[in-house]
């Protein structure tokens, strides 16, 4: 909406100037805030990278061997959550968009959205207090019968508060996020293409495979990435469910579990002082970098989608 080169100079109205100025200021403020976040995180992190490792909690060999297990735990828990959540989320989205009776579909959508409205601390409470004890017998059974499988190496956790429980809770939390996006994408599938597939004699599933999924693929990818970003950054559910250890282990059902960066910060922050705070902030910076990378991939996927829909 740029003004055409006007011969008569437009009168500058005070209201216009103030209003556009305020809008511009608000936009700029966001840039400033983000810059501040980045600068202060980096500034407060620098001491942690330089510190004598002996001063870090647990006296690791170096800062990186302190962060290593945490990064592993963060990525591992989030990946497990994704593996659980993505197929279910796709199923729910398809159910709402293409299977459920249309009258019900919107209501069902709201129901799933309710899951997103539950605060994460409540999920933590539920995961630690209800889900973990309830699922422990199942873990015990798994370890007894499938202990040979590396993921279920004995001994089993006696409380059920394992990385797998965390992954389940995280999966429930990111489910509505992935579902909401995928549902929108699936609902936007052009009717033309759906009808084309049906008119060729496709069954409902074949129609979905021919028309809905190819159309929605970029949207699905970005939805999954958003869910991943959320799972990586989730703090309370992990902090409350897990009994952490400094360990890199793929075992899902043991009492020795790697913890995640955010949970580690939440658990240690209240007692941290001096250089300990800097170390925790540094781990936060690393988390920020990881989630930033994930979100960049998501944005890239979305931009693919833009080109794609432009073709129509």
């Amino acid at each position: 909406m740029t003004a055409a080169p006007a011969r008569i100079a437009a009168k500058k109205r005070l209201g216009d100037t103030l209003f556009s100025g305020a809008a511009l200021a608000a936009g700029t403020l966001i840039l400033v805030v983000l810059a501040a976040v980045a600068i202060f995180l980096v500034a407060q992190s620098i001491p942690a990278f330089l510190v004598d490792p002996a001063e870090i909690k647990g006296s690791p060999d170096s800062f990186w061997s302190y962060v290593g297990p945490l990064v592993f735990g963060t990525v591992w828990a989030a990946a497990l959550a994704l593996i659980i959540a993505v197929p279910i989320a796709l199923g729910i989205s398809l159910f709402i968009s293409h299977y459920a009776p249309r009258r019900l579909a919107q209501g069902l959508g709201y129901t799933i959205d309710l899951l997103a409205a539950v605060p994460s601390v409540v999920y933590g409470l539920w995961g630690a207090g209800v889900l973990a004890p309830a699922i422990q017998p199942f873990y015990a059974w798994l370890v007894d019968n499938a202990g040979w499988f590396p993921l279920f190496t004995p001994p089993v956790s006696g409380t059920g508060r394992t990385i797998l429980t965390v992954a389940i809770v995280l999966a429930v939390m990111i489910l509505p996020i992935i579902t909401a996006l995928c549902r929108e994408v699936f609902l936007q599938t052009p009717k033309l293409h759906e009808e084309a597939a049906l008119a060729l004699g496709a069954t409902r599933w074949e129609m979905i495979r021919m028309a809905v999924l190819p159309f929605g693929r970029p949207g699905i990818i970005s939805a999954v990435m958003l869910g991943l970003g959320r799972a990586l950054g989730e703090t309370m559910a992990v902090a409350m469910v897990l009994s952490p250890a400094v360990i890199i282990s793929f075992v899902l059902t043991s009492s020795q579990n790697p913890t995640t960066i955010p949970a580690n910060i939440a658990l240690n922050y209240p007692e941290a002082h001096g250089i300990g705070v800097n170390v925790l902030i540094a781990t936060g910076l690393i988390l920020f970098v990881i989630t930033f990378a994930v979100n960049s991939v998501a944005r890239w996927a979305v931009s693919l989608r833009k080109e794609f829909s432009g073709a129509n």
């Binding site: 049906l198 008119a199 060729l200 190819p214 159309f215 073709a311």
Partner: protein, 259 residues
């Protein structure tokens, strides 16, 4: 490879609203039948009931019978998937699958039933179908390019090729030329003329010249007013409808007094 369609006392409803009322007509094999009438008279709704595509529209349902060579499409336990394999459809706007190449588009329907078709056989089918749709010469060098890269008229012929690749008995066309320019329209009309030798064709059109050019028989649909159901007013040979219709409304419509 073509079949007689008999429609008996068919009503179509959207929810509680009756959109089309009491249609009875017989469409002979290997003919082109055109449905004409003003907007909103239910001709597009009606053509969709001939292969149960109306079920895609929420709340749409049908009372009555459609018999294709004696088999009732609305009998108990009828599988719409089987129906649509035999009664293909071409839509108003060309709709090739954007993520598929031209070749894949043609094969899309066939692949459903025959996933491991030998490459040579598939190539032959692609060529035959595209030939049948008068598109082969234009696209034979770029079969692996996306179908959405073609012009509108080419896309529509690609859709026709895709439809005839599954060798249906009947082809329904819902205003196939309304989104196309005159040259492409002419190409499609020529194609319809050729397809008639093998298929039973039903075409909905807004364009009366088109109906008189391509069709053997014409059905005129009309509504009395908004909120009223559409009805089949007159069904006869195209020449009769356009030169000597028996109903006043038909004459008014074909002579351009309304619609």
């Amino acid at each position: 490879m073509s079949k007689r369609i008999e429609v008996r006392d068919l009503d179509v409803y959207y929810g509680t609203f009756r959109a089309v009322e009491g249609v009875t007509l017989t469409i002979e094999p290997r003919t082109v039948t055109a449905f004409i009438g003003p907007s909103g008279c239910g001709k597009s709704t009606f053509i969709r009931t001939l292969n149960r595509m109306h079920e895609v529209i929420p709340g749409a349902r049908v009372d009555g019978e459609v018999l294709i060579d004696g088999n009732n499409l609305y009998g108990p336990g009828v599988d719409p998937v089987l129906v649509r394999r035999q009664v293909g459809m071409v839509f108003q706007r060309p709709n090739p699958f954007p993520t598929m190449s031209i070749r894949e588009n043609v094969l899309a329907g066939v692949r459903l039933n025959n996933t491991r078709m030998p490459k040579q056989e598939a190539d032959e089918l692609v060529e035959k179908s595209l030939m049948g749709a008068n598109l082969w010469n234009e696209v034979k060098d770029r079969l692996d390019k996306p179908g959405s890269g073609l012009s509108g008229g080419q896309q529509q012929r690609l859709c026709i090729a895709r439809t005839i690749a599954v060798s249906p008995e009947v082809i329904l066309m819902d205003e196939p030329c309304s989104a196309l320019d005159p040259i492409s329209t002419l190409a499609i009309e020529d194609l319809i003329e050729e397809l008639k030798t093998e298929y039973t064709i039903v075409i909905v059109t807004h364009n009366m010249q088109q109906a008189s050019r391509v069709s053997d028989k014409t059905a005129f649909f009309n509504i009395e007013g908004t909120g009223k159901p559409g009805k089949l007013i007159e069904y006869d040979d195209t020449t009769t409808i356009f030169s000597n219709p028996s109903v006043k409304a038909t004459e008014d419509y074909v002579s351009g007094k309304f619609g």
